[in-house]
Amino acid sequence: MARITLDNLAHSYLPNPKSEDDFALKELNHDWEDGAAYALLGSSGCGKSTLLNIISGLLHPSQGRILFNGEDVTQATTADRNIAQVFQFPVVYDTMTVRDNLSFPLRNRGEDPAYVAARVQEIATMIGMEAELDRKARGLTADAKQKISLGRGMVRKDVNALLFDEPLTVIDPHMKWELRTQLKKLHHDFGHTMIYVTHDQTEALTFADKVVVMYDGRVVQIGTPEELFERPAHTFVGYFIGSPGMNVIPAQVEGARAIVHGTELALPDGYGTITGKTAIGIRPEFARLSADAGLPVKVRRVEDVGRHKLVRAELFGQEINIVAGEDDQISPDMTRVWFDPAHVNVYADDWRVAPQGRAA
């Protein structure tokens, strides 16, 4: 178990990166706290797996250092770092039995056979494969194989960190819940530092204490699920987290007022003068249709998605989403949308601008 520090870390797959665009992973400074569970969230190709492979030592970074508990391990091999990692697609040793697969990492480290046997039994119970222990891994289904991969990742107790690279992609939904719960329990019981890469926000939000959102090779926000929801630091976070994502509406911001297509909107806080491409962000959950207050909208479509209704509307030619309660009546005279000022965020060039203090 270790605290993992990334110091000025960056990586490019090109031998001589010139501009920032050549970097798959842009310069990054971050501390992964000892014993915390992190989710690394982002769309495909944003550098999540690159970062994970750098931490586990499968990839050597183009620049910067990695420290485990303050000790520089940038040049250390994967074996020396003592890390467990589970990959997106199942990796099993086909010719070995399930039991041998699970005990393989322990035997390679020369553990006592009695301990290995007991530990394998424990893990087999955890992944629900005791019955299959003595059959060959070849010919098992994809999710059984992935369970073995997960088991191999969890079998060592003394690892510095447990890394998961979208491990539940091939598992069916029912089993996903169960395995995720097992992982949480494992984290609870042993307190490993865990980093869990995923592009599924539900998975990220349920698994992790802290969610790290990556976009285009950059970490755009690190925070608790609430922080990501309430105050997305980047429009990408607003759009990526939430279903549907945040509405981003181009606006001019002057002091404590936002002007959307000539219509003024009061903000709870002052913002001073902001330069660049400015916009306001409001989550569909904090927008209300109304008959008299707010900006003019045209309702296009109402979808009943079960626990609530989703209103697709047009605001000055831009499509926005509004969440309405299951029992809310939506009548034809509702031609305006009202934004809860407390939940309006202001963005300049896609990055959130912090308010300067309460407006008078």
Binding site: I83, P105, N108, K136
Partner: protein, 289 residues
């Protein structure tokens, strides 16, 4: 689903039947025809029954050739398969040098058999051949035309030179199909180099290796041109393989009856061994070896 029965469909297989008849069945039946008859020339044939088969089965000449043949195939397989795998493991995985290696290794495969034979025939000569001359100057007594052991070494070296590439290329294709994640997982699991070979690379190569073994076995078991060009089956008959012996008998001595019987038995042996290979292969596959 309702299927209509239409016997006219048989006509659709007719072209294939005719082709196969001309290319395989009719020539084979000619051989069968010869094997059960005797001729004293003038195109007169007499029924001989199974006499030729009986004669051949009690003939030391065929048994000796078969023994040499099995030894030859066994030796070249024992060398070419491990060597091919070793080469494949050490080839670059990508980039210019990977393509370079592939081209260089394909070269021997493109050379016609009798040219290969000629190359080695000259290469091994003590008077002008690079190999023979060098060995002679080093004080090593080497002469493939007189010493059976030297003759064997020469034809085995020739076959290894000619065909190891095939095994290597097949093994390389097998290796290339292994996703990176396997190697990464092995590193995470702290597997040794040997364990990576034994539990990842070898199982993934098994399929193509089986094909390589089968191809090399069949090909070497039927080998004719190269040893014939190099040694002509000598010294004596020490490098006379089955094919060479068969041609000597059929064309040299014009013993059509015994040669036909010989051919049929030769064919059956190859068929039987290939069948065993195939069965073992598919069984291994099923059992999940």
């Amino acid at each position: 689903m309702n299927k209509t029965v239409n016997q006219k469909a048989w006509f659709l297989v007719l072209p294939v039947l005719i082709l196969v008849a001309f290319s395989a069945v009719i020539p084979l039946m000619t051989v069968v025809n010869y094997s059960v008859q005797d001729s004293f020339g003038n195109n007169q044939f007499f029924w001989a029954g199974l006499e030729w088969f009986e004669k051949m089965l009690h003939d030391d000449r065929m048994w000796n050739a078969l023994q040499r043949q099995l030894m030859f195939s066994g030796i070249i397989l024992a060398i070419e398969v491990p060597l091919g795998v070793y080469v494949a493991l050490n080839m670059p995985k990508s980039g210019f040098w990977a393509s370079f290696c592939l081209v260089v290794m394909s070269l021997p495969l493109l050379i016609p058999w009798n040219v290969v034979g000629t190359i080695w025939q000259v290469f091994g000569r003590v008077d002008i051949g690079l190999l023979g001359y060098t060995l002679d100057k080093l004080g090593i007594d080497y002469n493939y035309t007189q010493d059976p052991f030297d003759a064997w070494v020469t034809i085995i070296a020739m076959d290894v030179w000619h065909w190891t590439s095939l095994v290597a290329l097949l093994a390389y294709a097998g290796l290339k199909s292994i996703p990176d994640a396997y190697y990464q997982a092995a590193k995470i699991d702290q597997a040794s180099r040997w364990a990576v070979f034994r539990y990842i690379e070898l199982p993934k190569m098994m399929g193509v290796l089986m094909i390589a073994v089968l191809l090399r076995f069949m090909d070497s078991f039927m080998i004719y041109t190269e040893p014939f060009v190099v040694t002509g089956g000598g010294p004596g008959s020490t490098t006379t393989m089955l094919s060479i012996d068969l041609v000597k008998m059929a064309l040299g001595q014009f013993d059509l009856g015994p040669a036909a019987a010989f051919s049929i038995m030769y064919f059956l042996v190859i068929l039987a061994i290939s069948w065993v290979f195939y069965t073992v292969m598919t069984n291994l596959d099923k059992k999940g070896m």
